[in-house]
Amino acid sequence: MSSESNIAPTDPRHDARVSRAARLDAARRELADASGRGEGGRHAMRQYSHRMDALVQQLYADAGSLTQSVAVFALGGYGRRELCLHSDVDLLILFAGVIGREDERFLHAFLNPLWDLGLTIGHHVREVAEGAGLEVDNSEFLLALTDARPVVGDATLLDQFHGAADVARTNARTLEALKGLIAERHAKYNGTLYQLEPDVKESPGGLRDLFGAQTIAKLTDPLLLANGGSGARALEDAEEFLLRVRSVLHLEAGRHHNILSHEVQERVAERLNYAGSTPSQRVERFMGDYFRHAKAIDRSLRFALKAAPAPIGTNLVRGTDGIRFIDTREAAERPETWLALFQAALDGGCAVSDDALTCVGQNAGRFAAEAFCPTTRHREVLLHFLKPRPGLYARLSEMHDCGMLGQMFPEFKAINCRVVRDFYHKYTVDEHTLLTIRNLERLVENPVRDRERFGRLLGELQEPELLVLSLLYHDVGKWTDEDHTIESARMAHQMFERLDLDPHQRAEVDFLVREHIKMSLIAFRRDTEDPEIVRQFAQFVGTEERLKALCLMTLADVEAVSRETLTPWKEELLWRLYVDTYNHLTLTYGDEVIDREQSLHSTLLDHRPDDVSVDEVAAFLEGLPRRYLQLFSVEAVYQHVRLSRDLAPDAVKVWMTRVASGWELTVLTHDRPFLFSNIAGVLSSHGMDILRGFAFTKPTGLIVDMFHFTDEERFLELNAEGEGELLRTLTDVVLGRADIAARLRGREQGAFRRKLPEFAPVVHCDNESSRRYTIVEIVAEDAMGLLYRVSRAMSESGCDVDLVLIGTEGRRAIDVFHLTRAGAKLTSAQQADITGNLQRVLEGRS
């Protein structure tokens, strides 16, 4: 029994109920009369929907006070304003926040009177936050939602609800669900619309098919049905006809009934005023019209199913001519969404459609650079877009041709069609620039012969998008006839501010832009067989990451000058300079310790904070390789100085920081046996994948280790206390209070059981490159605990692990260890011994 059933006739609420019932009856009578005259089509249903809106609004107002924003939306046929005489009234009641007790009271007060009126209510109650899971909501609800229309309350809640959803996935799922429902329904009717007693709603060619075709168009291309199938006019006529027929069916049956049975066909033909001397003649003519309209709907639906572009993002679909906007007018006002158009084309391996490019081209000039990347998220999306991959050149060229690239990067506009007559560049400066990016992307997939080696370097770069950004800016300074490298770097700094790049990103791009011709000068003009030239160049680039980026930049730049410029001969010179410099950076850096004359040394002393003394800084730096200063920031160095102050022999300073692509762990302590392998082991035992890192040992025995890793098993993410637990375990293991070997054993066995290495590991001992160390290079398939196992094998062989460089290239681990034994390099016998041990470890034989 409803809450209002007990209301006494003297209660004012009784009057309200009577009044509502009277209003509903009047509205129904109005529609019934029109239906009886054969005029219960679009106009009459719109009127009835309007009356229902007023009723819903009144009930909403009468339902009492609200504790939060709420809105009521009409769904399905009611949402389309095609409410028939005995149709269900489908409603969505949307709450801004969590639904509480007061809200439930409101719901009862709102819904009960509707039930009391004898209406069949289909209601969905949702909180805005539930939009986040919309794509997995039930398919009928998703379909009903495509026609959602605000009736009363805060209409913006629906935008918020959709805003929380993954629109692309939701639309794709809605479309798939719709296609499935259509196929299922058609199967019930044996796939034919030529039913002698059709259901005007459910049969093929019925109202559901019409609604289906309209929904497909709405989700993919609003103009779809105007461009194919039976055409917009034929569909309008068919809709009006079927709505009128349905109205008569509801009227005749006095209930929700849509089957056009033989018996009722005569009544419908008569009410729709079909001419004919006999009922049979009238029915034949009427049913003839029915099939004509059903065929029109069927044809349009088939066309929509066949030709609809696939929804692939917010306001984006993929059509036969490429990616385009669904709603061009909306897109025109939102430049921050345009990059998604090109990203979708890049992801889909297709072009951007001409009409989308026209839309962007016609509107790009209206917006300043900031409008394209207004938030941090947009800037991240841009950097992601710039990751080199096939198609990037084509998409950037499209962006350039339609004027978007120049608006987004005004500095690039300065070299639009710029001609520099130097007699060896074959293309305008802007095209040369874009070609450098094409050359880079060609290294990603199927590089030509002898380029695989460069392709691997690209795969090793931690942030290849910075290289693309650098290429984009390397020649922008050529708008002037001054030294273009300096001007390009100056202009790049304007972009740094706009994109709010972090200091590290700025430094990398600045270096590459400013020094982009340095490597070609040395490779092609200097005697690279002279070790001093290589040493100076290694010192100049500083790190392998910069070396790789500069090498690739040089390759891409030289090749973009003309088709003939980059000869295999030049490639070979470039590669040799790269290899010699790489070897210098990784193999001999241990011999190059920080000296007091080094400029950074002086800077560190001069700008030190008050709590750090000159003597402390000098003492800390003494004996560390110069490379230490290239890998740690000035602030980090001071931090190390502070933490190493009075560090007791049995003390460990260890801390973690979150970085863009994972975590960084730094350890400061005194050297002890198995130290390095224990640290690596603790990380592996927690499921961490060590990507990069380095270890330094001072002559005094103080060590500074840094590991960059990713939380593969989400240990830190899922455990609030995870960070503390990891650091505690690490301290216990390092100080010998806990044993990591047992904990790791199970994991290692599991890892070995899972797969066998795909390539043979390489172990190479080098006693020549360094005066002080024996260097062991290991290239092996990356695996859980690999670093732990190899470094432990070294310690077990009696070696001191003094310096370590850890790197990965995809699934390949590339580690370089600088070892000594009793303070000296290893003898030949010791080298053979450790090489054998390591081979056994890497092949899983020990």
């Binding site: 092609f524 067989e529 030049k570 070979e572 010179l573 040799r576 190479h764 080098d766 290239v779």
Partner: protein, 109 residues
């Protein structure tokens, strides 16, 4: 006439060119070449793996000079291309029997 064919280090081409220009020898052909001399290249190591660098990048400079200038030209090339280290490469001198200008068909002595 003599054809002087000099195989030099890539970074020495500019020096060789300058030295020849001082002798008023401006016409020359420069080609990127790869090869090895007596040392037959060397072994390099990259990431623990050895690979044989047998063909080294060099530049070939070709000039044709009158017999009277050949000695000076050879001397200029050797002096400008020399580093004193292994890999300084070679100069070859070949007699030229005849020479023709393609445009006019004119024969030069």
């Amino acid at each position: 006439m003599k054809l002087i064919k000099a195989i030099v280090r890539p970074n020495k081409v500019d020096d060789v060119k300058a030295a020849l220009e001082k002798l008023q020898i401006s016409g020359m052909t420069v080609t990127e070449v790869r090869g090895h001399g007596k040392q037959k290249g060397h072994t390099a190591i990259y990431r623990g793996q050895e690979y044989n660098v047998s063909l080294l990048p060099k530049m070939e400079v070709e000039v044709v000079v009158p017999d009277s200038m050949a000695d000076d030209a050879i001397k200029a090339i050797i002096e400008s291309a020399r580093t004193g280290e292994i890999g300084d490469s070679r100069v070859f001198v070949i007699p030229v029997l005849e020479s023709y200008k393609i445009r006019t068909g004119e024969r030069e002595a």
